[in-house]
């Protein structure tokens, strides 16, 4: 077991080292594509970290991404970069904590409704604040961050997310979340503080999403609320996580990589009907692959090998 973990760790480190070399290729197109791939990998994995085990569908990815991006738009020029990231992360955590504490002690519907409207709510509040208080709508982002910097930061965040996810899955918190996902009533009667567990994980996941938004912000030179809070991100991340299979830590990446590439292609070729195509792909996944690629792989491996279902959480 420990040997397997060590081997896995070594392989992961090697992959990380190789991936870190991508900016050295000197090809701007590949670098941009690699940034997109990492962005969606982190977002989908973070989404799955919470929604996978608990089966609470969060539609608020954009809200957190936008909080991060907009924080950079406001503070990017004033404060040193690490501090900006820290503030963004803290803001994301606070918003997630408020949403989580007010809705996650109730049934899942309230959470869905709240997350469904959260993006629009925060966008309206930001617009209101900018129009009435700061009197600017739209800001220029002048920070000294190159595309390669963005890439490396995202790569580090990707590694951190997988490490964190792996640690949580092995922890008591991770087990608690699996029990909650199976049966919340039983979870409570086993002595699990379900509200705490859900809010904690939702906050962790949302903080990661906020960081992605902050890291990505310098990619745009100009940010306004409608760019930062673009609901398509929530939708794409949801599709990717579901295609991959959110019940496994490594699931969402299986959806994020192919779909990022596909969406890149589709949005360039069919800009007007892109949303419709996306909706159709999504419905196909919901109907045909309810447990995602990860679920399919598990099914294949159990039927092929005839062995007992593998239970280890990635």
């Amino acid at each position: 077991m420990t040997a397997r973990v060590a081997g896995f760790g070594a392989a992961a480190l090697t992959a990380l080292a190789l991936l870190a070399l991508v900016p050295r290729l000197g090809n701007a197109y590949y670098l941009a594509l690699a940034i997109s791939l990492l962005q969606y990998t982190v977002l989908a994995t973070a989404w799955g970290m919470f929604s996978g085990p608990t089966r609470y569908v969060s539609l608020a990815t954009t809200a957190f991404f936008g909080v991060g991006a907009y924080t950079v738009a406001v503070l990017g020029e004033i404060l040193p970069w690490p501090l900006v990231l820290l503030i963004a992360a803290a803001l994301g955590a606070i918003v997630a904590g408020i949403v989580g504490l007010s809705t996650l002690r109730l049934s899942g519907v309230y959470f869905v409704i709240f997350t469904f409207g959260l993006t629009e709510l925060i966008r309206q509040l930001v617009v209101w604040f900018e129009v009435n208080k700061s009197r600017v709508l739209g800001r220029y982002v002048f920070v000294d961050i190159t595309q390669a910097d963005i890439y490396w930061q995202l790569l580090a965040l990707t590694a951190a997310v997988f490490l964190l996810g792996w640690l949580i899955a092995r922890s008591r918190l991770g087990f608690a979340l699996r029990v909650i996902g199976e049966d919340e009533t039983v979870a409570k009667h086993c002595g699990i503080n379900t509200t705490f567990a859900k809010v904690a994980l939702f906050t962790i996941s949302a903080t990661v999403m906020t960081l992605v938004g902050a890291i990505m912000a310098p990619r745009w030179t100009y940010i306004e609320p409608s760019i930062a809070f673009n609901s398509m991100i929530s939708f794409q991340v949801l599709i990717m996580a579901l295609l991959g299979g959110a019940h496994r830590l490594w699931g969402p990446v299986l959806g994020a990589v192919p779909l990022t590439l596909l969406f890149e292609l589709l949005s360039a070729r069919f800009p007007n009907t892109f949303t419709i195509i996306l909706g159709c792909i999504f419905l196909l996944i919901v109907y045909m692959l309810p447990r995602g690629v990860a679920g399919l792989l598990e099914k294949l491996s159990t039927t092929a090998g005839g062995k007992t279902r593998q239970r280890a959480t990635a």
């Binding site: 569908v57 809705t103 469904f116 409207g117 629009e120 309206q124 009907t273 949303t275 309810p290």
Partner: protein, 289 residues
């Protein structure tokens, strides 16, 4: 002040009508329909097209759009949602599946409307003259819409409480399993109720289009408001719908005229949270055993 209250009540009546269809879909057919607002906007576009293209009055338009929406929603339930109902082992699983499926549907409908009409705001001028009402000046189209809303609400209430089919629908809302035992065809009742909900939101869409500007991406906000009203009033509860709708409309109108029109959604959420913190089952919701 009276003007703000009157505006709020008219708006609230509209919200109540909008939410009534959703409370049927969610309370009876158990479908959490996130694409609900898209159907409203689609009906608004249909009415706009009929009025500007064919000079057909929205009141006549209602007679065309509403039956069409009923048939369309019936088909959607039968084709798209029945497989989910069949495969769901329990209510929670159906909820997750219906959330996902209708979320996908949202983007398909919204994308289609964007492709057809672009992102611009639409409106048309129908009954756009001021009239005196309760000592205040209001637009005739709003008043007409309110009148029809009240008629529709009363008709629905009568249908649910006075007819056999209505009693069946209410029985399914309370307990689908027990309803089956007293020989109610639950799948059929669910499909018809879902379609009825779709017809109601289409009616709301036609009415809204007579006095509000709308765009292909306005649907989400209407979905949001309908969801808030339904949950605030207590899922499946008509009276709750009315009270919550009025409360939402009033608070919006008051905040818009005295604080800032840009904060209406924030008010919606604040009201929603306040109700949930005090009465998690909604104003008129029954606590479950």
């Amino acid at each position: 002040m009276t003007n703000a209250i009157l505006t709020g009540l008219m708006l609230g009546g509209m919200y109540a009508l909008i939410a009534m269809g959703l409370t049927l879909q969610y309370g009876v057919a158990r479908i959490m329909n996130l694409s609900y607002g898209e159907f409203l906007i689609a009906a608004a576009f249909a009415s706009h097209w009929l009025f500007t293209g064919w000079a057909i009055s929205p009141f006549v338009g209602l007679a065309l759009v509403v039956p069409l929406a009923f048939v369309l929603n019936f088909a959607i339930y039968k084709l798209l949602l029945t497989p989910l109902v069949r495969r769901a082992p329990n209510r929670d699983a159906l909820e997750v599946d219906s959330i996902l499926a209708t979320f996908g549907l949202t983007f398909i409908i919204q994308g289609s409307m964007l492709a057809l009409f672009g992102g611009a705001y639409y409106s048309y001028s129908f009954l756009a003259f001021p009239v005196q009402f309760l000592g205040e000046t209001v637009a005739a189209n709003r008043l007409a819409a309110l009148g029809i809303t009240i008629l529709l609400g009363l008709a629905l209430y009568a249908a649910l409480t006075r007819t056999r089919a209505g009693t069946a629908v209410r029985a399914v809302a309370v307990d689908p399993f027990a309803a089956q035992l007293v020989a109610i065809n639950v799948p059929q009742a669910s499909a018809l109720t879902f379609a009825l909900g779709g017809a109601l939101v289409a009616a709301a869409g036609v009415l809204v289009s007579t006095f509000l500007t709308f765009s292909a991406s306005s649907g989400v906000v209407f979905t949001m408001k309908a969801l808030i009203v339904v949950v605030m009033g207590g899922v499946g509860n008509m009276l709750g719908c009315l009270v919550a709708g009025l409360a939402l409309g009033l608070s919006e109108a008051l905040v818009a005229s005295y604080v800032d029109p840009g904060l209406t959604l924030a008010v919606n959420f604040a009201l929603f949270l306040a109700v949930l913190l005090v009465k998690p089952a909604g104003l008129f919701g029954r606590a479950t055993r």
